[in-house]
């Protein structure tokens, strides 16, 4: 062997036990759906069918909401914060104990590299439950009044990009604040949510406190529109977010929305170059770019454009695309055929509009949904690939000359979820952070998440915050 070729290093699948079919999790038990058709969830890396999952129809959603209402009225609402905390701590510990299993399951169902599900997603899931467990008996310190009260039943709809992490972002603060929940995972990634249902059973969580209804848009709509849901939390596309906002109009439901983004990742000439390249790569290729806050627009100061691009391309050449369960994979599979089609379409539009497309040489597996890490140069603000969320491993590169121009370009979008700044100059970081109209600003890092840190968008990226003290506020009537 003349080169250092990494041999396959697959994480064992033996640790997960996937059932052939799953019911809905309502009132502490797995039950058959009554008015929906079962659907299949596949591994996007192989198109192998992993399991059959029940679709919850309106009647099933109604049952779940009733169970949640009853649990809220009889058990969870009256329970002391101290005991709610203990349940959440238990859940956090169970997640830690089953972390490898959950990571493998997540990578199988979602297509993300095991390195990420193992080192990022699942540890953050446990951390979220720990953090909000600690709030459950301290609500009076959350800064929302002396005696904050839960809304009641929360209807929560989450996306497929971080299936279990989004579940944690939704369920942990909701339960800590004293709400009960009905959660709908995405139709392409239901398995870790169903594993979470089992964890609730292992924790002896009272029935009805957490209910999981699987299904697609129709199920989500039934949940959001259910009259006995007090609080709606949605994470997903801006279009569905807009529809959600319309459908709750005129009701008294509280709403938080975490939607799309088109973040600017802004590189100044005095940036710490090697870490900046890592940050650009992490910003757009983390989780195949299926990240609402991805740094999908790279804004580079013209004086260092050539060097940044050369280094970025060299680094992209070392990215390893392939089997999500291989411990050395950097970029896994695109989550679904539909998403792959969308990425392909927008990339084609990028080429058609005159941007220059580049990908490193990389062999893609024959089966499954794959897209190589891609960078577009010569992109202008007018190009669709600079304006629309691609939600894939596709980076659009633009340039700027002055900080003011960088701010103008960064803010020139209907979105406002996140932004990145790369410079060794502290005062410029703070100046830029002040000017940027985005809910999260990363400086000399990107795509960092922590349960203590509020996350959410400006403008069409949604409203409300998740994480931190502010994330708790979303689940408290005040």
């Amino acid at each position: 062997m003349s080169r250092f070729e990494y041999a396959p290093a697959p994480e064992s699948r033996a640790i997960v036990d996937i059932k052939s079919s799953y019911g809905l999790f309502v009132n502490g038990q797995f039950v058959e759906a009554t008015d929906g058709k079962p659907f299949k969830t596949v591994s996007p890396a192989s198109e192998e069918v992993l399991a059959e999952v029940s679709e919850a129809g309106p009647a099933d959603v109604d049952k779940a909401v009733r169970a949640a209402r009853k649990a809220f009225d009889k058990v969870w609402g009256p329970m002391s914060g101290k005991d709610r905390a203990k349940y959440l701590f238990r859940i956090a510990r169970l997640i830690q104990e089953r972390s490898r299993e959950l990571a493998v399951l997540e990578s199988l169902d979602n297509g993300k590299p095991i390195r990420e599900s193992r080192d990022v997603d699942i540890p953050l899931v446990a951390a979220h439950f720990f953090y909000y467990a600690g709030w459950a008996d301290k609500l009076e310190y959350a800064g929302v009044g002396d005696d904050p009260q839960p809304w009641g039943v929360a209807g929560q709809v989450i996306p497929w990009n971080f299936p279990m992490l989004m579940l944690a972002w939704k369920i942990a603060p909701a339960l800590a604040a004293g709400n009960t929940v009905v959660l709908k995972p995405a139709e392409t990634t239901p398995l870790t949510a169903l594993a979470f249902a089992e964890i609730c059973q292992q924790a002896d969580l009272p029935p009805g406190v957490v209910n999981i209804v699987t299904g697609a848009g129709r199920t989500g709509q039934a949940l959001v529109e259910h009259p006995d849901v007090d609080k709606v939390a949605f994470t997903g596309s801006t279009d569905v977010g807009r529809a959600t906002a319309k459908s709750v109009a005129g009701t008294r439901k509280a709403v938080t929305l975490e939607l799309g983004g088109k973040a600017a990742n802004i590189v100044f000439e005095d940036a710490p170059i090697d870490q900046t390249i890592e940050g650009i790569v992490n910003g757009i290729f983390f989780n195949q770019g299926h990240v609402c806050c991805a740094g999908s627009r790279l804004l580079v100061q013209e004086s260092v454009y050539d060097e940044v691009l050369a280094r970025l391309k060299r680094r992209m050449g070392t990215l390893r695309v392939g089997d999500p369960l291989d411990k050395n994979t950097d970029i896994g599979a695109i989550n679904s055929a539909a998403q792959l089609a969308k990425i392909r379409e927008l990339s084609q539009i990028g080429e058609d509009e005159g941007a220059e497309r580049w990908s490193p040489e990389c062999e893609l597996p024959a089966n499954g949904y794959w897209f190589p890490p891609t960078v577009f140069t010569g992109v202008s603000q007018a190009h669709r690939i600079a304006r629309e969320e691609i939600f894939g491993p596709v980076l659009s590169v633009l340039t700027f000359r002055t900080p003011a121009e960088a701010v103008e370009k960064a803010n020139n979008t209907p979105f406002g979820l996140s932004a990145g700044i790369w410079t060794e100059k502290g005062s410029r970081i703070l100046w830029m952070a002040n000017q940027l109209r985005a809910g999260v600003v990363w400086a000399n890092t990107f795509n960092r998440f922590d349960p203590t840190s509020p996350f959410g968008g400006y403008k069409e990226s949604g409203y409300g915050r998740e994480g931190g003290r502010h994330g708790l506020e979303a689940y408290l009537a005040h």
């Binding site: 101290k82 905390a85 203990k86 701590f89 951390a127 720990f130 953090y131 467990a133 600690g134 709030w135 459950a136 008996d137 301290k138 310190y141 800064g143 900080p403 003011a404 502290g426 005062s427 410029r428 703070l430 100046w431 002040n434 349960p451 203590t452 931190g468 003290r469």
Partner: protein, 294 residues
């Protein structure tokens, strides 16, 4: 070869030697002294090590050495470690209950409730680790182009003269708020009821708490207190376990030498919710200014 039918003779129990807990180890007092611990009815329970000023000195060295590492841990990690204390205590519930019942003269069911409350208190404080800065810190809108924020930070080594009456719940309630924010502690237990403190040390040693973060001395607060109060490498002192006003005043005067943060003795209801005051007692507030400009 079996010689006797063991069923007819009750098994003779193996008794525990109660020692100090310093720097993660369990030494006897360097002074070689011990004292008799009786139960509430005056019956002999055990001999406890009687800590000396030199033990206190060693404990302060251990606490100082542990401070850097403990303080540098993430708040999340400290929270997890405190929660682990609660988990491990749960497994020793019976032992704690017996020691509390014997020492405080409580019925076993009341003693159990005290142990329950003590464990729950660790859980309550564990949750504060990564929330304290969010509740007591601030970003300050100064009138100028500066980003200005204030963050709480642990003060350092805290000496605790633990309550005399409440030997476990009281002890927990004075140690937990100090260490959760990153301080390290040298605690002198209740003199007459030291056994739960020693057992708590055994819990510490088996629950991921780094050696030196909590040091537990059994013995007399009146004897050791002045040495801790005047020690220049101790940053704060809790006089909770001092029952005489004169003694407390003298200790406060000694503590003024290096301007220790002093918590004066006061009437305490250990079963009540504790609020933030013990947490914030051992915090410094650091304010940072940074210019904003291109």
């Amino acid at each position: 070869m079996p010689t006797k039918d063991t069923a007819t003779t009750p098994r003779l129990e193996v008794r525990k030697t109660y020692k100090l807990y310093i720097g993660g180890a369990f030494p006897r007092s360097e002074s070689g002294r011990s004292y008799v611990v009786n139960n509430a009815k005056g019956k002999f329970l055990a001999n406890a090590s009687q800590a000396s000023r030199k033990d206190a000195r060693d404990a302060v060295v251990a606490a100082r050495k542990a401070f850097g590492g403990w303080h540098a841990r993430t708040a999340y990690n400290r929270g997890q470690v405190l929660y682990r204390i609660a988990e491990v205590m749960e497994g020793r519930h019976q032992q704690f209950s017996a020691e509390v019942a014997a020492g405080e003269g409580l019925s076993i069911s009341k003693a159990r409730a005290v142990v329950d409350a003590s464990i729950d208190r660790w859980v309550w404080y564990a949750g504060w680790a990564d929330k304290l800065a969010q509740v007591v810190g601030s970003s300050n809108p100064v009138a100028g182009p500066y980003f200005d924020f204030s963050l709480p930070e642990a003060t350092g080594v805290v000496a605790v003269l633990a309550p005399q009456d409440s030997s476990l719940l009281g002890l927990t309630s004075v140690i937990a708020p100090a260490i959760v924010s990153g301080n390290t502690v040298v605690a002198v237990s209740s003199y007459e009821r030291p056994l739960p403190a020693v057992t708590l040390g055994e819990v510490m040693a088996t629950s991921d708490v780094p050696g030196g973060v909590v040091n537990l001395l059994t013995g007399s607060a009146s004897e050791i207190g002045p040495w801790l109060a005047s020690h220049d490498d101790v940053n704060a002192i809790d006089l909770c376990g001092i029952t005489s006003d004169d003694e407390a005043r003298d200790l406060e005067i000694a503590a003024a030498g290096n301007l220790k943060r002093v918590r004066r003795p006061a009437e305490e209801d250990w079963s009540a919710d504790q609020g933030l005051s013990r947490l914030t007692q051992y915090l410094e507030l650091k304010t940072v200014w940074h210019p904003i400009g291109v």
